[in-house]
């Protein structure tokens, strides 16, 4: 019984201090702020979805890039799945080791409108990596990034 109580108390402590990934909503009115140039360096927005098999390796590669240049790069992930699926989204991000990065999810059950607001010349294929630089320039690439593309993202 003492053992049970110890386990219970440890569970209480672990649970109280464990940090889940907070997923913030991204609605049509939030897109402009997301795409606003950062004060310095660059913001990389990685758009992904639960069904996308190419997204997780892309996510991990961008996380590695950010960790190598933390003062230069902000990394934000955006799931095109509705935020109603926040539990699945958080679980997937956690499995990919993305706890340290701000995470957003679309507020709508169909992604097309917010996709269009982010970039009208994008058909929704995922992953989509958008680099927004302090000077206002922007680069967007569909698909899993190659080593060469990754190297060019943060010169």
């Amino acid at each position: 019984m003492r053992r049970l109580l110890t386990i219970l108390l440890l569970t209480v402590a672990a649970t109280a201090f464990a940090r889940g990934i907070a997923i913030e909503p991204l609605g049509p009115n939030d897109v402009a702020a997301l795409l606003k140039p950062p004060v310095r360096g660059e913001r990389i927005v990685m758009v992904w979805s639960l069904d996308c098999v190419y997204c997780e390796p892309n996510m991990r590669a961008l996380a590695k890039l950010q960790r190598a240049r933390p003062r230069h790069i902000q990394l934000v992930t955006v799931a095109t799945d509705s935020i109603a699926q926040r539990a699945r989204i958080a679980a997937r991000l956690e499995a990919a080791g993305m706890q340290d990065f701000p995470a957003r999810a679309y507020t709508e059950p169909s992604p097309a409108r917010i996709n269009f607001l982010i970039d009208p010349n994008w058909g929704g294929e995922l992953p989509r990596t958008i680099v927004i630089r302090a000077d206002g320039s922007r680069t967007a690439i569909s698909g899993e990034l190659t080593e060469k593309q990754l190297a060019q993202l943060a010169p």
Binding site: G20, D51, N121, G143
Partner: protein, 397 residues
């Protein structure tokens, strides 16, 4: 000697455990929260009497309703799967519904039986006019927990029920053997006993796209044919066409679009197909080799499609196609900053020429992909929106 805690503590422990459960769930990403939002994936079909049938997903159940007044009012929903399942019902994954010649209602969906990218293709039927459904069966004989989905359903001329899907088993095997494997694979099966049992699945083609819906259609010879996105060479996302033989004859999938669009991504935009009584294969598809574009064309497997016509560019997506005699209709979603328009173009000369695009419906809330239905020579578009299901009649101009 055994320690016996006081009665008060013994009572407290289970209460404390119960109290902690929600906290533990929140700490692990809020996994106790449920998806209450209605999914937009829906499947619709007319039966031989002109009644409209609709399959949608609610709280872990596929539910079926019918309408005798073209979608103005619907019957009470009937649950298809008695036990709740996690059902794919968003994006290009949606439940499918087809009607049989004797009034059978066939329903198919993809279940996610556990966490991760795994799926089982599920099927049930009603032989009493939609009042009751048979116990759901898993169509795929292979039980491995791999990705399956983007299923499609069609009824052959002889009444066989043909089911196709994208399957990740070959990719998983290659990965575990340390070998490269592009995309997934296209599998199909059929039932010759009205949906009681399905034959062991056959692989049609290695290297399908992983995340685009598949299209099936019935040709004038009664055979079911497939049109779906493949992965050719170094991630080129063009489409394949094949007759799905159910008599043991060898299959011959052939490349049928040649855009050369290369991308290591999930397009989430599968094609549409309708076969005319003259055998002409009317198709619609998406590619982004020179920016996003949806196309119409008449498939000539092994060669570029005939009468290729770009239907839309940025913001145009998820097209469908229907044919009746010499009339061909194409419809798609056109999004802009304010919402969605359902666009239509029609041809009266078998797809050689099309009239101008026009908006036939609009929505300022999210919409699913349009699905054509035909009844007595007239065409309708089934359009599920976050505000409810709509059946939109199509007039030819």
């Amino acid at each position: 000697m055994t320690y016996k805690p006081p009665m008060a503590l013994r009572r407290l422990v289970p209460l404390l455990c119960l109290a902690l459960l929600p906290l533990a769930a929140i700490a692990h990403g809020g996994q106790m929260d449920m998806v209450h939002e209605p999914a937009l994936g829906a499947g619709a079909a007319f039966d031989a009497h002109g009644r409209l049938w609709l399959a949608t997903v609610r709280d872990g159940h596929v539910v079926v309703q019918h309408s005798a007044d073209l979608g103005k009012t619907f019957s009470e929903p009937v649950q298809v799967n008695p036990a709740t399942e996690t059902i794919y019902a968003s994006g290009e994954n949606r439940p499918k519904l087809a009607t049989g010649p004797a009034g059978q209602i066939y329903v198919q969906w993809t279940e996610q039986p556990g966490p991760g990218w795994i799926g089982y293709i599920r099927f049930a039927r009603s032989t009493d006019g939609g009042r009751h459904f048979s116990a759901p069966i898993t169509v795929n004989h292979n039980p491995s927990k791999v990705t399956r989905g983007f299923d499609s359903l069609a009824i052959a001329g002889n009444g066989d029920i043909v089911v196709a899907w994208i399957d990740g088993r070959d990719a998983a095997q290659a990965k575990s053997a340390g070998k490269p494997y592009a995309g997934f694979a296209f599998y199909y099966t059929w039932s010759a006993d009205g949906g009681k049992t399905f034959a062991p699945e056959r692989k049609l083609m290695d290297h399908s796209c992983e995340c685009c819906r598949t299209a099936l259609a019935r040709g004038p010879d009664g055979k079911v044919v497939a049109f779906f996105r493949g992965v050719y060479g170094d991630n080129i996302r063009d489409h394949a066409f094949a007759v799905l033989h159910t008599d043991g004859e060898a299959n011959h999938p052939q490349r049928a679009t040649f855009s050369g669009w290369r991308v290591a991504a999930c397009p989430d935009q599968g094609p549409g197909l309708a076969i005319g009584a003259d055998g002409v294969r009317h198709a619609v598809w998406y590619e982004a080799s020179h920016g996003p574009a949806i196309w119409y064309g008449q498939l000539d497997p092994g060669h570029a499609p005939r009468h290729a016509l770009k239907l839309g560019g940025p913001g145009a997506s998820h097209a469908d196609v229907a044919v009746r005699g010499k009339t061909v209709w194409v419809a798609w979603n056109q999004v802009n900053a304010d919402g969605y328009a359902l666009m239509l173009r029609s041809s009266r000369d078998g797809g050689a020429h099309f009239g101008a695009a026009r908006e036939i419906a609009s929505s300022n809330v999210a919409v699913g992909s349009p699905q054509f239905l035909t009844r007595a020579g007239a065409a309708y578009v089934a359009w599920n929106t976050a505000d409810g299901f709509r059946l939109i009649p199509v007039e030819t101009r």
